[in-house]
């Protein structure tokens, strides 16, 4: 164990009482007292003592909670006057943590409050309690000590947004990610090149335009510049012809500009959609490979939409953002060069004034964004309420609460309106200020320009008009650069999230060179299996179970006892943390996924019907099944009759877009699916929980047929379902507490007996009514 770090004053106090720093086993800081004040303290464990130190509350001390507090909090010495209490371990029967609503209490002997602490120290305190338990009850700790993970970026000290994903957004290598996204554009190189040419063409034509409609039009044509005509090869004096020529040129410039824009738009659309498609395909593929725990720890729906939106956001940046960095830089530089070469004094004035409007934009835009965020939130709560009401329409109607729902809706609706109004109001302000500064800038340029023209210092009106045209052309690109950074880091973040899923390593992985098992016998052995969804919280503890070939094993137990977890392990949705599971003597970790999945089928309490016909749903695990086989499976699952009662029979579309099925009907479809899969090992997890007794009886018959020649594991609350089980195990609190045949368990008078009695009584009670 790591050496315990404590402040000097504490160590001194301990050594005064004969406790050397070497004898310390574990220490945990506390930050509260039982009077609900913030106060520093320590709980320190040695081999024979538990030391409690507290200091008087210090209101001047700033409390830092997680996110602010770095490691080393234990070393900080506040030099307090410690009040102390030493307890001999022999006197302590138990030390427990009791979680309060937002803090924790350390309690000895079920009634002595030793210390209070905020949730900041919860984890550490749990470790201390575990150390205490080990002293009291020396036994190998089967749960691994959780590693004290670094949650902060070692470079800059920022906390990682996601603990499982040690990526510091501040220090993230944006360049690498950028290059990685670029790889997705590689197949479209040719199109990209054309697009870039279009971009450059557009920029160049834009550069020509002010010259044409300023200098050429005003200074050469209007001023009747003969030299200019000569240059064009037009006879002197024919200015109308020249005008016609210029107008035609201008027309063609505009026309080709539009054509280039259309061309560029077409290519952009093609590239964007293709890249988004490629990205989504990769993401979907990667998600399919991930283990079930990945889906459990995240909300699947939001994850999916988020990632898909990320794909679009990234791509749009790469198309609408990245190339423009080039184009706009080109525009700005070339425009500036032209401007300076026209009249450097005026160019300087413009250069000083232009950034003002950019700054105004930069200052005000974030607020506009936050207003958009507010509207988004209002919209979301409005939508969720509407959704809530639509799904709950039956309840609303049943209790006649339409009026109240309307009021509730109005509140949210008004909030939405307010948010919308706030945006409009601010947007007006923003546009007003922004365009005013912009107009002001060009006014000043005009003013100085006209003054220059009037003073007659070789400065013509046409040149001025050209110049103003260039000034106008600068503001767009400059604006672009004012928010490009935000956009860029946003999109890189999105890309990072996407790659996180693409790179995620599934927890349950197929071994290299797995063992093939085309036709297993169906023997299952669980050898000292321990498993928990969270480390430190084992759901199953040291389970030993031998299920013989062709046996039907019933699993009984309270809700939350770990029954479903057990079968999840057998079908290798998860891997056990300790121990191993063997099929026919082969560790499931070594088995090929294909053989494992083909030979283990599960009918679970959560039935899922895919979008599609009844036929497709039944044939899900075995798409090559013949129609005759599908019908046979449906008959065996007692589904045939209800399927034929539907007008379209086996071709009826079911699932989210189709006909709605009742719980029992869905259940029977999924049983038919399992029958058709023809597995060697069949797992029934509350398979008949949502059907009526009569249907259950029918399904029971089919299951009786089904279990022949297979190993079956059946979980049920209704014990009558397990009538035909060869053997039963009772799981309580993650452990197998009873095991045996039905008569044996009844004889035991334990949990099984009690459950059985309760259920028969309940049935009897129903009879009396």
């Amino acid at each position: 164990m790591e050496k315990v770090k404590l402040p000097k004053s504490v160590l001194e106090l301990l050594s005064r009482h004969g406790i050397s720093s070497d004898s310390l086993l574990c220490a945990c800081a506390t930050d509260m007292n039982t009077n609900c004040e913030y106060a520093d303290g320590y709980v320190i464990l040695t081999a024979d003592k538990l030391c409690l130190l507290t200091s008087p509350p210090d209101p001047s001390r700033v409390r830092s909670f997680k996110g602010y507090s770095k490691k080393g909090d234990l070393e900080t010495d506040y030099g307090q006057n410690w009040a102390f209490r030493f307890l001999a371990i022999t006197e302590l029967e138990s030390v427990k943590i009791e979680r309060q609503v937002a803090c924790g209490l350390l309690i000895a002997n079920d009634g002595d409050a030793l210390a209070a602490f905020s949730n900041l120290h919860m984890k550490n305190m749990h470790q201390l309690v575990r150390s205490f338990d080990r002293i009291k009850n020396p036994q190998p700790d089967f749960m691994q000590e959780e590693e004290e993970e670094d949650e902060y970026c070692p470079k800059c000290g920022t906390m990682y947004p996601n603990r499982n994903r040690k990526i510091c957004p501040k220090c993230m290598e944006r360049g690498t990610i950028f290059m990685r996204v670029l790889r997705y554009f590689k197949p479209y190189r040719a199109k990209l090149a054309i697009m870039l040419v279009c971009f450059l063409g557009i920029a160049a034509l834009n550069l020509v335009w002010p010259y044409l409609n300023g200098t050429v039009l005003y200074d050469h044509i209007l001023e009747k510049d003969s030299a200019f005509l000569a240059k064009l090869g037009i006879k002197d004096g024919r200015f109308v012809t020249a005008l016609l020529l210029i107008v035609l040129t201008m027309f063609f410039v505009k026309l080709s500009l539009q054509l280039l824009l259309v061309l560029q738009g077409v290519f952009t659309a093609q590239i964007v959609t293709s890249v988004v498609r490629d990205l989504k395909k990769d993401i979907f593929g990667a998600m399919g490979k991930l283990s079930i725990s990945f889906y459990k720890s995240r909300q699947t729906g939001s994850l999916m939409t988020r990632v898909l939106r990320d794909a679009e956001r990234v791509t749009s940046f790469f198309i609408d953002g990245a190339p423009y960095i080039l184009i706009h830089s080109f525009t700005i530089i070339s425009t500036l060069i032209v401007m300076f070469s026209i009249r450097w004094e005026l160019a300087i004035v413009a250069c000083i004034l232009l950034p003002i409007s950019v700054v105004v934009g930069m200052k005000l835009r974030p607020h506009l964004w936050s207003l958009f965020g507010r509207r988004h939130r209002a919209e979301r709560s409005l939508n969720s309420q509407v959704n809530d009401n639509l799904t709950g329409a039956r309840v609303v109607k049943a209790f006649g609460q339409e009026q109240r729902e309307l009021t509730r809706f109005s509140t949210n609706n008004s909030r939405m309106k307010d948010a919308e109004l706030a945006i409009v109001r601010f947007d007006n302000k923003f546009t007003f200020l922004y365009s005013t500064t912009q107009e002001l800038t060009s006014m000043i340029v005009w003013f100085i320009g006209v003054a220059l023209v009037l003073s007659g210092t070789n400065f013509d009106l046409g040149v001025l008009i050209t110049f103003v045209g260039y000034v106008g052309q600068l503001s767009g690109p400059m604006n672009f650069f004012s928010h490009i950074f935000h956009w860029w880091s946003d999109s890189i973040n999105s890309a990072q999230r996407m790659f996180e899923i693409l790179d995620a390593i599934p927890e349950v992985q197929e071994k290299e060179n797995p063992v093939a098992m085309p036709s297993p016998k169906g023997e299952i052995v669980l050898d000292h299996v321990t498993f928990g969804y969270e480390i430190n919280k084992p759901v199953l503890k040291n389970i030993n179970l031998h299920i013989k070939e062709g046996e039907m094993l019933g699993i009984v137990g309270r809700s939350g006892a770990g029954k479903t977890t057990l079968v999840n392990l057998i079908s290798r949705m998860y891997d056990p943390q300790e121990g191993a599971i063997y099929f026919d003597g082969v560790n499931v970790r070594d088995l090929a996924f294909h053989d494992l999945r083909r030979n283990v089928a599960m009918v679970s309490q959560e039935t899922y019907i895919f979008m599609g016909t009844v036929e497709q749903n039944i044939a899900y695990a075995n798409p090559n099944a013949t129609k005759a086989e599908i019908i046979r499976a449906a008959v065996l699952a007692s589904a045939h009759d209800f399927i034929l009662r539907m007008p379209d029979g086996y071709d009826t579309i079911i699932g989210s877009a189709g006909r709605e099925l009742s719980g029992g009907e869905r259940q029977r479809i999924s049983i038919a699916r399992a029958i058709l899969a023809n597995p060697k090992i069949l797992i029934l997890d509350e398979a008949t929980a949502s059907v009526d007794t009569e249907t259950e009886k029918a399904i029971q018959e089919s299951i009786n047929y089904l279990i022949k020649g297979r190993t079956t594991i059946s979980i049920a609350h209704r014990l009558s379902t397990l009538r035909d089980a060869d053997r039963l195990v009772v799981i309580d609190n993650g452990e197998i507490t009873e095991e045996g045949t039905q008569p044996e368990l009844t004889e035991l008078r334990g949990t099984y007996y009690k459950l059985m009695e309760l259920q028969t009584k309940a049935l009897a009670l129903k009879g009396i009514e």
Binding site: M32, T34, N35, C36, Y38, P57, D58, P59, S60, R61, V62, R63, S64, F65, K66, G67, Y68, E98, Q100, V101, A102, C103, L105, I107, N109, D110, G111, D112, A113, A116, S118, N119, L120, M122, T158, M159, P161, N162, P169, K170, S370, G373, R374, L719, S720, R723, Q742, P743, L745, T746, E747, Y753, M756, E757, T760, K761, L763, A764, G767, I768
Partner: protein
């Protein structure tokens, strides 16, 4: 015994199963017991908790729980056994129904259970990379804490009252945001 009661395959001996007792238990489970100064006696324990005696019944330590911690903290207090599968011993409908001393000692228990510093001043809020970093002054002293932007860290208990949970689920409360200054409100704007 009615004929339609299923006989368990293991051979159910119905005689041993006390139906009456089961019914009694069920009835007990469904009953609400209100307690007040007349039928219950609360006492402090040495360990810093509270014990209760109700007639013959004695509980060396009880858990005190609010049924409506936000909307009605002084009423409907549930007195429960402290163990994991805690059961209700009785209900105090109103803190006024017990003696002042009892109310005081129960309130102490409640304060610890629902420990939530009240934010009196917002010094700074910084949002960065999915977290918001708060620097505030509370009635228990200055605090710095961090919340997750993605989740439901900020809960609106009413139009003006908000509850903030940091990443460890430590709680902080702003009872009335209208009492904050315009400047502080602006800092909080993102969460309103």
């Amino acid at each position: 015994m009615p004929p339609f009661g299923k006989t368990p395959p293991g051979g159910g001996d119905h005689e041993e199963f006390n139906l009456e007792q089961m019914e009694k238990e069920t009835e007990e489970m469904l009953k609400l017991r209100y307690i007040n100064k007349d039928n219950a006696e609360f006492k402090r324990t040495d360990g810093g908790f509270v014990s209760v005696r109700i007639g013959e019944e004695f509980h060396p330590r009880v858990q005190v729980v609010r049924m409506f911690p936000f909307s009605d903290p002084e009423k409907y207090i549930s007195i429960r056994t402290p163990d994991e599968h805690s059961k209700e011993i009785g209900i105090i409908e109103d803190m006024k129904d017990v003696t002042k001393e009892t109310a005081q000692m129960l309130t102490e228990q409640l304060n610890l259970r629902y420990f939530t510093p009240i934010i009196t001043k917002i010094v700074n809020i910084k949002e960065e990379y999915g977290y918001a970093y708060f620097e505030v002054v509370t009635d228990r002293g200055a605090c710095r804490f961090t919340i997750n932007m993605g989740g439901h860290a900020v809960v609106h208990l009413s139009e003006t009252r908000i509850l903030i949970s940091d990443i460890d689920e430590n709680r902080f409360e702003i009872p009335d945001i209208m009492k904050l200054s315009a400047k502080e409100l602006k800092k909080l704007d993102l969460f309103l």
